[in-house]
Amino acid sequence: MLVKMIFAGFGGQGVLSMGLNLAQAAMLEGKHVTYLPAYGAEMRGGTANCTVAISDEEIASPVASAPEFIVAMNQPSQVGFQHHLQSGGLLFVNSSLVEAKIVRGDIELVEVPASRIAEEMGNPRCANMVMLGAFTKKTNLVCFATLITGLESTLQSKKKLLEVNKEALKTGYDFCGAEP
């Protein structure tokens, strides 16, 4: 099964590392995986996004024209990407910043107040990890434990950051779990 997803948001929101962490976990679980950052006009700032594809067999194109999942960390992303989503797809929005406006009947909305949760945790820059936790719970693409293992290997030398991120992941994961 081939599953594709796009993570999108503002430049500073860490959407690329969301995708990267997920891709790494998928790799650790032995899946085929591609990660493709979007390249803007060679300029920083503005919006950012990346595409992850996870599959049991070779992946043809790392591009997602009709992804199964979209994570919109900000308003423009929600507006811009929503219509790409596949029928039956899930749209994750960072509901602290995004006023969810679904214009299609064939997709499902998952609202996660990631920024607020992160702020409440005292680590506003961790909204991305909160969202990734929620995303993982909901999609079940990789095991939560693998995600943590991946994070541990990436942030080996930065113990403090690691702890903060782990906690955020967990909080996001639990947030989604708490829902009915």
């Binding site: 990267l20 891709a23 790494q24 591609t34 493709l36 950052p37 043809a60 194109s61 790392p62």
Partner: protein
């Protein structure tokens, strides 16, 4: 070594270092900056090695020429416009029979174009964008793992045949990350090529040059280059084929386009269309034999490229009338989807009245 998630650009860098690449000279250009940066980080302070961000692509390719003359493994990288600037230098490398690895993570053209992935530099790479009769080996990977592997092979080929080798990627291959495994350790002692110029110590002095006032001398250089080229054609032509044995329609595609084509073919097969794929891994030497051989089974070919139609000429030349060659191309950096290519494939399939498996 465990698999790691690496971008194509970094995989080339790591592959090069493990192949014993001792010098890297480059100049920034999107979409290959991560490669230059990888070398800045991992090569610049390595013992016996050198990294220079040159003042231009021209300067970089001529530094490559110098390092190659001195006998070490050396690499440069750039993207389309920068590769155009290197053409004179590549012609010199070819003429002087100097090994070197040149990476082109190509982008949209002509002109400044775009930074998205295209395959529009096929002609330039395979026909010698520079002046004179010469060839370079051209390798066209289609995954990050293959980038890593072919980088190693590129250095080996360059040294074995004393020839510049081009790795023709594209911006998507450079950017995307995939799991990759490296099969070689960084060599302890860096290789030094025979015939290097390192001062005449203990031998007669010698020189490396092409200029001559005697056309017959230059003609002999040309002939000897071509004798070597024939050998390379014989020994090094590489082509991946998949599902070709029973195929009624054969798609020919390289690099990233071949991946996309594979997706399309998977779909086609599941719809009962007998479609196969030929993927030239060496663009020069082009796998003409394989293409020709395939024509013994089916006459139906479809070339798919992310350009206006370049490799299609090589396919036609290989077939020499023995096949019916269709073409589908999208230039400018547009990335077709597997579904789009599937639609084209099936349209061609039906139009040619090929048989469907139920």
């Amino acid at each position: 070594m465990p698999r790691i998630l690496l971008s194509g650009n970094s995989a080339i860098g790591e592959g090069a270092i493990r192949a014993g690449c001792q010098c890297y000279f480059g100049y920034p250009i999107t979409p290959q900056n991560e490669l230059t940066e990888y070398m800045a980080t991992h090569l610049s302070r390595r013992k016996g090695c050198s990294f220079i961000q040159a003042e231009s692509e021209l300067s970089a390719i001529n530094m490559v020429y110098g390092a190659s003359v001195a006998g070490v493994r050396v690499m440069t990288s750039s993207s389309s416009p920068g590769i155009s600037l290197k053409q004179e230098g590549i012609s010199y490398l070819a003429a002087c029979q100097l090994p070197a690895v040149i990476v082109n993570m190509s982008r949209g053209g002509p002109g400044l174009g775009s930074i998205s992935a295209t395959q529009s530099d096929y002609f330039q790479s395979t026909r010698g964008g520079g002046h004179g009769d010469y060839r370079t080996i051209v390798l066209a990977p289609s995954s990050v793992q293959e980038l890593a592997d072919l980088t190693h092979r590129a250095f080996d080929l360059a040294d074995r045949y004393l020839i510049p080798v081009i790795i023709l990627g594209d911006s998507m291959l450079g950017q995307m990350m995939e799991p990759v495994e490296f099969h070689h350790e960084v060599p302890r002692r860096l290789p030094v090529r025979d015939q290097a110029l390192r001062g005449a110590h203990g031998r007669a002095s010698r020189f490396v040059k092409t200029f001559t006032s005697k056309p017959t001398e230059l003609e002999e250089i040309n002939w000897s280059l071509f004798r070597r080229y024939r050998l390379i054609e014989k020994k090094e032509t590489t082509c991946e084929s998949s599902l070709v044995d029973d195929a009624e329609l054969v798609v020919v595609a390289f690099g990233i386009a071949a991946r996309i084509a594979k997706g399309a073919i998977r779909k086609a097969r599941s719809n009962g269309l007998k479609v196969g794929l030929l993927r030239p891994v060496t663009l020069w030497p082009f796998p003409s034999e394989q293409v020709k051989k395939t024509a013994a089974r089916t006459k139906h070919f479809l070339v798919f490229e992310m350009n206006m139609g370049q490799m299609v000429e090589d396919v036609k030349l290989a077939l020499d009338g023995a096949g019916e060659v269709g073409f589908y191309g999208r230039p400018g950096g547009v990335i077709p989807t597997p579904s789009e290519v599937f639609r084209v494939v099936s349209r061609e399939y039906y139009q040619r009245g090929l048989s469907i498996e139920r």
